[in-house]
C-alpha cells in the first residue's frame, strides 16, 4: 500500500518538507477527525432533542458575530495575529465598496466580483 502512494510523483522541484506520503496520510486522517468532530457533535446533540428557546434566540446572533469576526481577522490582524489596523488598506477600501454594492444590489455574485476587481486594481496599481 505504501509503495502505491509513494510511487506517485511529487512534482515539486524543491520539496522543503521531510515527511513522506505515509506521514501525510496520518496527518490527513487526524486532520479529518479534528475537522469532523466539531461539525458533527453539536449538530447531532441539538437536532436530536428539544432545544430551549433561549438557545435559539442566542444562536440567532451567531452568524452576524461570526462573519464580522472572520472579516476582522483577515482585515485588521496580521498572519501572526498581531493588531494591524492599517495593515490591509486595500482590503478596507475594497470592503467599503463591497458593502455599498451589497446594500444597493443585494446580489452576492455581483458584490463578490466587484470586491475582487476592486482589491485587484488597488493592490496592483497603487
Amino acid at each position: 500500500m505504501e509503495t502505491v502512494w509513494t510511487n506517485f510523483p511529487v512534482l515539486a522541484s524543491t520539496v522543503v518538507n521531510k515527511m513522506d506520503s505515509t506521514d501525510h496520510l496520518i496527518l490527513i486522517a487526524l486532520a479529518a477527525v479534528t475537522a469532523f468532530l466539531p461539525r458533527y457533535i453539536p449538530m447531532l446533540f441539538f437536532s436530536t432533542r428539544e432545544i430551549p428557546d433561549w438557545f435559539n434566540e442566542w444562536m440567532k446572533y451567531v452568524p452576524v458575530s461570526l462573519f464580522t469576526a472572520l472579516v476582522v481577522k483577515s482585515v485588521f490582524l496580521s498572519s501572526t495575529y498581531h493588531i494591524e489596523l492599517l495593515g490591509h488598506v486595500n482590503y478596507i477600501i475594497a470592503g467599503v465598496i463591497v458593502i455599498l454594492i451589497t446594500y444597493v444590489t443585494r446580489s452576492m455574485a455581483f458584490s463578490v466580483l466587484a470586491g475582487l476587481v476592486a482589491v485587484f486594481v488597488i493592490t496592483t496599481f497603487f
Binding site: 490527513i28 479529518a32 441539538f46
Partner: protein, 266 residues
C-alpha cells in the same frame, strides 16, 4: 411560476457565487499544498475530508516550517472548533432529519456554505435541508476539483494570495450586510468587531473568534430578551428600528412579514 426550473439548477444558481470564488482560492490552496510536499492525491484527499480553506492553508504553512504532525493537529483543532457554532446555529432547521442525513450534512459543512444556507433558511420558507446539502456538495466539488488542478499546475502558477484571499472576505461582508436588519444586529456586529480584535490578538489564535462570537451573540440575546420583557411592541423600540435596503430589493420573507406587521399596526 418559478417552479418550472429544475431543483438542481435552482440550487446551483444559489451556490454559483460561492463556487466561483472557490476556484481561485482552491487553485491557490492546491499550489501551496503542492509546494509543501503533498502529492496531488493527498491534496485531493485533504480537500475532501477537511474541506476548509483556512485549515488547508494552515497545514501547508506549518508543513513548510517542518512542524511536527501533533502540533499541526492541535492547531487545526482550535481552528476548526468554530464549526461547533455553525452546527449549533443550523440545528433548529435539521429537526426530524434522519441520523444519516445529519452525518452527511455535517461532514461537508463549512463557513461559506453555512453562510449561504443560513441566509436561505432565514429568507426562504421553502428552503429544505436536502437543498442545503446540495449547496454543500456543489461547493465541495468545486473546492476539491480546484485544489486538485492547483496541485497539478503546481509552481507553474503564481498567485497573489492577498487578492485571492479577499474573495471570502467579500463573501462574508455580503453576508453581514444581508444579516443586518435592525439597529441591534448592526451594533452587535460592531461589538463583535471590537471583541474579536481584542481576543484574537490576546489569545494569538483563532480561538479568539469563538470567544468573541459567543460573547457578542450572547449580548445580543440578553439585550433582545430585556427589551422583550419591558416593551410590548418590540418593533417600535429604537434598537429594533429597521435597517432595510432600497425598496426594490425588499423581497425576503422577513421583509414581507415586517410590511404586513406595519400594515396591521396602522
Amino acid at each position: 411560476m418559478k417552479q418550472k426550473e429544475p431543483n438542481w439548477l435552482m440550487v446551483l444558481k444559489v451556490s454559483m457565487p460561492l463556487c466561483l470564488s472557490y476556484i481561485p482560492i482552491g487553485l491557490a490552496c492546491g499550489v501551496l499544498l503542492h509546494a509543501a510536499g503533498f502529492n496531488f492525491l493527498m491534496t485531493l484527499l485533504v480537500s475532501i475530508v477537511v474541506f476548509s480553506g483556512g485549515a488547508q492553508f494552515l497545514i501547508a504553512s506549518l508543513l513548510t516550517i517542518n512542524a511536527p504532525i501533533l502540533s499541526i493537529v492541535v492547531t487545526l483543532f482550535f481552528l476548526e472548533l468554530r464549526y461547533a457554532l455553525l452546527g449549533s446555529s443550523l440545528s433548529k432547521y435539521m429537526k426530524n432529519q434522519p441520523q444519516r442525513f445529519i452525518w452527511l450534512f455535517s461532514v461537508s459543512l463549512n463557513d461559506e456554505n453555512y453562510a449561504i444556507n443560513y441566509l436561505k433558511f432565514n429568507t426562504d420558507k421553502d428552503w429544505t435541508p436536502r437543498q442545503a446539502l446540495m449547496v454543500e456538495h456543489y461547493s465541495l466539488i468545486t473546492w476539491s476539483v480546484s485544489n486538485f488542478i492547483g496541485s497539478l499546475i503546481g509552481s507553474a502558477l503564481t498567485i497573489n494570495l492577498d487578492i485571492v484571499d479577499f474573495a471570502l472576505t467579500a463573501l462574508f461582508l455580503y453576508m453581514i450586510v444581508m444579516q443586518v436588519r435592525n439597529r441591534l444586529t448592526f451594533l452587535i456586529g460592531l461589538l463583535s468587531a471590537v471583541l474579536s480584535i481584542i481576543f484574537i490578538a490576546w489569545t494569538k489564535s483563532t480561538i479568539g473568534i469563538i470567544i468573541s462570537t459567543l460573547l457578542a451573540s450572547f449580548v445580543g440575546f440578553m439585550v433582545e430578551s430585556y427589551i422583550r420583557r419591558h416593551h410590548q411592541h418590540v418593533h417600535h423600540t429604537w434598537l429594533f428600528g429597521k435597517i432595510r435596503g432600497p425598496a426594490i430589493t425588499r423581497k425576503t420573507v422577513e421583509d414581507k412579514d415586517a410590511e404586513e406587521a406595519d400594515e396591521a399596526d396602522s
